[in-house]
Symmetry: C2
Subunit: 112 residues, 2 copies
DNA sequence: ACCATAGGTAACCATTTGGTCACATGTCAA
DNA sequence: TTGACATGTGACCAAATGGTTACCTATGGT
């Protein structure tokens, strides 16, 4: 796997868990939150579970952190998502593709 | 989890595996391929491994199938990807967001 | 100095996942 | 109808994942 492919893979894998997506959403709502604060978004899960998810997000470069006093603040970094969207998802989601898909679906429906 | 959230989750999880992304790319290149044909895209993996991945893609509704004679043809369905992109990824990848992100990154760099 | 608070480490566990193998089914063609 | 070919099923296995608990470190307030 090339470098960007490996990076993309980490991003895809990081996005594959609903808790992690919730955490990203939380940071989208309010950036720079502490672990404690983020735990509120994952009720019924211990702080350690949340921390593990945050580690995954951090190593996929989707969140960056900064220690302030005794708390660790988490910042959203959407750039990897944008890159993945640009060079992979866009290929499937572009209007051109969409038109083709609609046409194909129509044809399949007729011949079915 | 609501219905669409569960669907989105299946799509995210399906996209989390590199082999499955390769299979989608293969169908993007040439639609309507058989299992055999798709196996060529995953060298070093048995037909059964490929079949399992195809099942995952199918149950996430990313590929649809049609039996023709003794072979099963696979068709790409990008719609779920488009939906996920529209209602989740777009939020992070829109130009507006991108501008905010760049600004934030700049500020953080200055204060660091 | 002290204690409460915020976070970190490591061991551990259950489940899911990615993958294989052995075998079964269905279909075409001679 | 027999054999080759394409796909399906189920058992099975190793590794990764998601999560917990017990304990440790560091910081801030009083």
């Amino acid at each position: 796997m090339s470098g960007t492919e490996r990076d993309d893979d980490a991003v895809f894998k990081a996005l594959a868990d609903p808790t992690r997506r919730v955490l990203l959403d939380a940071l989208f709502d309010r950036d720079g939150q502490s672990v404690q604060s983020l735990c509120e978004r994952a009720p019924g899960m211990t702080r350690f579970g949340v921390m593990k998810h945050l580690e995954v997000l951090e190593s996929a470069n989707l969140v960056t952190t900064r220690k302030v006093g005794r708390q660790k603040l988490h910042f959203l970094n959407p750039v990897p998502i944008q890159q993945v969207a640009d060079r992979w998802i866009g290929k499937y989601a572009q209007p051109f593709t969409r038109a083709l898909v609609d046409l194909q679906a129509d044809l399949e429906h007729r011949t079915a």
